[in-house]
Each structure stands twice: as C-alpha cells, then as structure tokens.
Amino acid sequence: MLNTLLEALSLVSHLDNQVVAIVWLSFKVALATVTLATLIGLPLGALVAVASFPGRGAVTVFLNAMMGLPSVVVGVIVYLFLSRSGPFGDMGLLYSPTAMVMAQTVLVVPLIAALTRQIVEDAWRVYATEFRSMHFTLRHSVVALLYDCRYSLVVAVLAGTGRSLSEVGAVMIVGGNIEGYTRVMTTAIALETAKGDLPLSLALGMVLLTVVLLLNTGAYHLRLWAMRKYG
C-alpha cells in the first residue's frame, strides 16, 4: 500500500507529455460539456422554478431523480443514437470527443437544472410579490433571478464540472478510450487498473483530484472577490 503510494508520487513528479495530453483533453471535454449544460440547464432550472404549469411537481421530481442518472445508461443510449446503425449514424460521430461531450451534456444538464431550480425557487419566494407588482414577464423574472443568484449558482456549475471530470461510464462507451484521441483521465485510470498498474492509475487519480481541487479553490476565491466588490 505504502509502496504503491510512494511510487505514484514519484510518477506525478515527472509527468510525461502523454499524461499532459490526457489531462488537457479531460479539461477540454469538461469545458465544452459544462458550457453547453450551463446554457441549457440554468434557463431550464429557473423556468421550472418560476413558471406555473400543470405537471410542474412531476418535472421537479424528474429533474431531481435525473441527478442520479447512471452514466453507463446514458453512454449506452447515446451510443445507440450515434452508432452507424442508429438514427444519427450518418454523422460518424461515435468514438470522438464530440460524442463524449454529447453524452456528458445529457448527464450534466439535469444536475445543473435541478440545483438551479432549488436555488432560484428559494429566491423567487422572496421576490415573487415584488416582481408581480412590477408586472415582470416570465422572461424578465428568470433573467433577474438568475442574475441575483449568480454567486450561489456557481455551486451548480461546479457540481456539473465535477461530474464531467470524474465520470467514466459514458465516455468509455461513446469515446472508446482511444489512445491520443478520446482517452481522458478517468478512462486512462480504468485502463491502467485493468493492466494491474496500480501506481500509475493512482498517480492519474491524484492528478484528477488536484485538478478538481484547484478548480474549486479558484471558484471559491472568485466568489469571495466578486461578493466583496459587488456586494
């Protein structure tokens, strides 16, 4: 155990190019995923929080439940859509980073939307009467609330980023873990574990953990700074 840990530490200390490329791809996929999922998830979550429509309770429950969506299931479904014998097969997207972003977006949108709904709904309770007296349209309310909750919503986006970076089931299936093309940190860890190279997979795990920690530290300080500056 201790030996494995020490060996892992020495591997981390001299990262080779291949590992850097893998980390970089993880980063790019997560960035594209979270951008897309934020663009869809924030308005969607806020809309569900503010609008009143029949079946709103059901939609809320559905969104919350989908936070726990198994990534392997999403992987298989997206795989079947993108497969050459599936409906979007002509696009030839299977086994590409684009396919990975698509699958992960399906995973992350419900997560961001559900958290956004909760945060915005709490704010809505405070502002509802005021907005109604000002005759705000639904769209104005959504925009105003999203803006007002922006610091809290960072948590939703961070949760999405974390899920995207750490998820392995979906990217393995739709990406194929192709070396130099669709291999990301999590699939590389899975492969090295399969090869019985535990120190290397642990080293990659440490890199993954460090990246996620750095990201969260950055977001935390950004939030503190912004709150001091803009109240």
Binding site: L39, G89, G92, L93, E179, A194, G196
Partner: protein, 270 residues
C-alpha cells in the same frame, strides 16, 4: 433568447465539424483487450502511422463485443481471436478479407500454493477438471471475449457445467480486471500469455499450466464489409490489413518483447 440559441447552434456546429474533419485520415479498429493491454498496439501502430499517415483508432473490447461493434458498422477493421466466431462473422457477410495475423497461447494462472494441484498435469482439460474438483475459485471473464469462448470450450470438453459449481465466478470484465480478481481471491483463471506477461499486479499468481496444443490462440484480421456499410474506409482499412500481414508488419509483431520474452508469433501467409 433568440441570440442565445443562435450562439448555441454555432457552438454545436463548430464542435460537430471539428469531429467530422478529424475523422478523415483515420480508421477505427475494433480489437480485443489482450492486444491493447499487452501493449502490442502501442508498439506496432506508430510504425504503421509513420509509414502511411493513417491514424489507427483502437477500441479495445472483448472479441464478442468487438465483432458486435463491427456488425453495427461502428468499425472499419476487426482484429480479434476467436476463430469460430470470426468464421461465422465472415459467413454472415459482415466481414471480408479475413487473414491470419499471429498467435500466442493461453495459460492457466493460479496461486503459487496450487491448492487444486493443477501443476501435475500437462493436459488442459484435466487441469480444468482438477480446478472444478478443488475448493479454490475459478474466475471467468464472462464477457463473451475470445478468452471466455476458449475457456467455455474447455469446460465442455471436460463435461463440466461450470455454473453448477459454487467456485465459478464470472467477472464480466476484461483480462486485466479478471487477473486482479484472481490475485485477490487466490483463484485460477485462463489468460492469454500477452496480457499475463504485461500484467503487473500478480501478487501470488503464477502460470500453473501451459504448453498444451489446445491452448493455441490465433488472431485474425478482417475488413468490415463495405457492401453492408458504404461508409467503411475500404482503402485505408485494406492498407492496414495488408501492412500487418506484410513482412514489415509481421517483423514488428515478432519484435515486441517484455523482459526479453516474445508475446505474439507472426502467422500470416504471404
């Protein structure tokens, strides 16, 4: 809102084009975990890529899964090791131009203490009988891979229904995870020699039976039938098949060694 959707559409289009543009000078080879995890591809593919400029994207699955992936049209070339399944694949019209590439052999791996006394026999079927008669577990791949298919043939020859035996555990995983399990449970398993040689987490495992002729493990390569799937990259795929069965390809396979031990033996007829 309209602006937002416009931006989203542009973003998506760029992402899609990036995916399509890249896919052009490359082929997808659906292959087995044994070739990937043994490090063979890492050794031979750079040679092929440097020579032809064709990027080979390897998706490593069990043989059964690799053939299914090709049946769905999601690969250009298949490189697997289960002759009966390969022949069926070709007979059904999914694959063309099947060629022998190389072989290695299967080995029975078990704990050094060898509780089930497999070491005493050179006969693989007898080895399986002894394992089933013992108390140490047997870890099966259970994933329809070529190794799994070979293992099931041995049980059949031994007239044993392994699922009726409590010591039979199906991992449903690749060779590496199965070896990890065997190491953790001090159990036996059937492994291809390539993955075994490159496997690092052996703990108390060692080879307890090898050398029986029936343990022969041949690999074949074939092109997914372009008549079934017109998008199959026929030319690039054939270049790969021709190269790997050419003298240069065969020599690079033979040159791949771990600790001085050769993992795969060329067998193409050319």
């Amino acid at each position: 809102m309209a602006n937002f959707f416009r931006q989203l559409t542009i973003f998506l289009c760029v992402m899609l084009m990036a995916g399509i543009a890249r896919a052009d000078e490359s082929i997808v080879v659906s292959s087995t975990t044994s070739t990937e995890q043994s490090g063979l591809f890492g050794h031979i593919l750079p040679i092929f890529e440097a020579k032809t400029g064709i990027k080979v994207k390897v998706v490593a699955l069990g043989t059964g899964q690799a053939l299914d992936t090709a049946r769905r049209g999601d690969a250009d070339v298949v490189f697997v090791h289960d002759r009966p399944a390969e022949d069926k694949f070709v007979a059904e019209g999914w694959g063309v131009e099947r060629r022998d590439v190389m072989y290695n052999d299967f080995v029975i791996v078990g704990p050094k203490t060898d509780a089930s006394k497999v070491k005493g026999t050179p006969d693989v079927v007898e080895g399986f009988r002894r394992i089933a008669a013992g108390s140490a577990p047997f870890i099966s791949r259970g994933d329809k891979s070529g190794t799994n298919a070979a293992e099931l043939r041995f049980w059949k020859e031994a007239n044993i229904d392994p699922k009726a035996w409590a010591g039979y555990k199906e991992a449903g995983a690749g060779m590496g995870p199965t070896l990890n399990m065997a190491a953790a449970m001090s159990g036996y398993t059937l492994a291809d020699r390539g993955t075994w040689l490159s496997f690092k987490n052996r703990q108390d495992l060692e080879i307890v039976l090898a050398g029986d002729k029936r343990l022969f493990n041949p690999y074949g390569v074939m092109l997914v039938n372009p008549a079934k799937y017109p998008h199959v990259k026929k030319e690039a795929g054939m270049k790969f098949i021709d190269w790997i069965t050419s003298r240069e390809g065969q020599e690079s396979i033979a040159a791949y060694k771990i600790n001085g031990e050769q993992l795969f033996f060329p067998s193409a007829k050319n």
